[in-house]
């Protein structure tokens, strides 16, 4: 009888240890994936002043577009400082989405200046921009996958029994909440004169 109890105790302790370690490992992976997003966002924010400087002279009359990019960037930088997996990610994701929209408008404008593409290093900067956008997207993909499996695991039985012990809490996903950001833009090709 005593032996049985002892074996039971060993099994329980063994389970608690392994479940605890699993949760801690997942938490570490999530934080790591978050750090990757952080690095890539910083890269994106650092790239923008270079981009703006490269075109400032040639695009003086497109000031609005440039202003919009700079403002969106500053807003994103501000929110990035306070974001972490336990809070602030969704606000940051919104700001970054706004910045992405401003950048794609900017790209459209650059395409209208063939002279600009020929003379400056804008081609190289555009490759940098494409790559940076991809990095942000892939870092986000990895983070969301990792964070989702962390969130699911800590609620599943029997891992949920040690979730408190491992200080596991649900983390925010990097995604856009506002339905406006998700809306598909309406393109009017009917060529009717605008009222």
């Amino acid at each position: 009888m005593q032996w049985l109890l002892l074996i039971l105790l060993i099994v329980v302790v063994g389970f608690v240890i392994s479940a605890y370690n699993r949760l801690i490992a997942l938490k570490g992976e999530t934080l790591n994936a978050w750090k990757q997003i952080d690095v890539q966002l910083k890269r994106r924010h650092d790239l923008i002043p270079n981009l703006v400087n490269a075109v400032k002279g040639a695009m003086d009359f497109e000031k609005d577009t440039l202003e919009a990019v700079i403002q969106a960037r500053n807003q994103a930088v501000k929110l990035q400082a306070s974001a972490s997996p336990t809070g602030g990610i969704q606000a940051l994701a919104g700001a970054e989405a706004a910045l992405g929209a401003a950048l794609s408008r900017f790209n459209v404008v650059v395409e209208q200046y063939p002279a600009l593409k020929a003379t400056s290093n804008i081609g190289q900067l555009q490759e940098e921009l494409t790559s940076t956008e991809n990095r942000v997207a892939f870092a986000r993909q990895l983070y969301n996958d990792t964070a989702t499996s962390y969130n699911v695991k800590q609620q599943q039985f029997p891992w949920n029994l040690v979730a408190g012990l491992a200080k596991a809490e649900t983390v925010e996903l990097y995604e856009i909440e506002e339905p406006k950001e998700r809306e598909v833009p309406v393109v009017d090709l009917s060529m009717k004169p605008k009222a």
Partner: protein, 340 residues
């Protein structure tokens, strides 16, 4: 089957190649220790004082040889492959193509959650790519100059994703092990056949009919000899079967990294149409490449022989599978690997 999600499919794929590897190792054990068994039974009728085969020396020797060869390939494999193809390491990018390539590799390192591999360029105008290095920390990804010129950014990304998938799935490690085992089996088979020729002549002269031990010994002996004679072919086919499974798995994993199976499909189409053999890439590296570099038409045919002899699955089937994935992904937003 086809409704299981991608990760489940990948798990199944891995299980299937685990079965193949197990079969391979059992086959290998039979070649080594089976020989010992035959010798043991044959010397069973020996009188006291005569030699009796009780220690499985053949098996031990063969295993040690395999460990040695694998260890050697493990250490020097990556360097040998890279120098055999004449690749040079891209340390600081200078042209637009190179910059784009380095960026794409870094993006895929992020998507796969692996450290950034070393980046190499093979001076060859035929589009191809391969990965090597036995663990993700010391991995190398190499592409040909032709690949950088031919593919769009998305297609290049897909090809690099396929190579990073090989790195993450530890395929180089697996294929290095199998190649070493195939090599040892070839040696064992060769030695046995030579020994048979000499031994046969000696025995017929002495007329020794002493060994004995009954029908079982003769059946086992014949069985063992037949397998040993066929072993080089069988082992190579098993290794190729594993290789093809890993190609499908790498295609699916690449789609998981990029979420863009269509780009890999169109990259494969372009690589296939430029069907000049990749001269810089030699026979021994073929199984590591994204497409069979030897331009063997066998990869383009479907059918029994093609299925057994190719390092890669038929291009048409890989492309069709990827297109199916792309269609599904577009429609349902879910990545599903089509059943084999």
């Amino acid at each position: 089957m086809s409704t299981a999600n991608l990760f489940e499919q990948q798990r199944q794929n891995r299980r299937r190649s685990a079965v193949l590897v197990t079969v391979f190792i059992l086959f290998f054990a039979w070649i080594g220790f089976g020989g010992d068994l035959v010798l043991y039974l044959q010397s069973g009728g020996a009188e006291p004082g005569q030699y009796r085969h009780t220690v499985p020396l053949v098996g031990i020797a063969v295993t040690l040889l395999a460990i040695g060869m694998t260890g050697f390939a493990w250490r020097t494999g990556a360097k040998q492959v890279l120098s055999a193809t004449g690749a040079w390491e891209l340390i600081s990018a200078s042209t637009d193509d190179e910059r784009r390539f380095v960026n794409v590799v870094e993006e895929m390192a992020i998507a796969s959650g692996l450290p950034k591999p070393k980046v190499w360029i093979v001076p060859d105008d035929d589009p191809n790519a391969f990965a090597t290095g036995i663990d993700p920390k010391t991995a190398h990804v190499a592409v040909t100059r032709g690949l950088l010129k031919t593919l769009t950014r998305d297609e290049l990304q897909a090809v690099v994703a396929h190579e990073m998938a090989h790195v993450r799935n530890l395929d180089v490690r697996l294929m290095t092990l199998l190649a070493a085992l195939v090599g040892v089996i070839a040696i064992v088979s060769d030695v046995t056949m030579r020994g048979l020729r000499f031994g046969g002549r000696g025995r017929s002269g002495g007329g020794g009919k002493k060994g004995g031990g009954g029908a079982l010994v003769i059946v086992l002996l014949v069985l063992w000899l037949v397998t040993v004679i066929l072993a080089p072919i069988i082992s190579r086919m098993l290794a190729l079967a594993v290789s093809r499974k890993r190609e499908y798995l790498a295609d699916a994993t690449a789609a998981q990294f990029t979420r863009n199976p269509a780009a890999l499909a169109s990259a494969l189409e372009k690589i296939e149409h430029a069907d000049a053999p990749t001269k810089a890439i030699k026979h021994g590296v073929a199984h590591l490449c994204i497409a069979d570099p030897l331009g063997r038409r066998v990869t383009n045919r479907e059918g029994f022989v093609a299925d057994l002899l190719a390092t890669h699955p038929p291009m048409a089937r890989r492309i069709a599978r990827l297109k199916q994935m792309a269609y599904q992904y577009e429609k349902t937003g879910e990545l599903v690997e089509p059943a084999l």
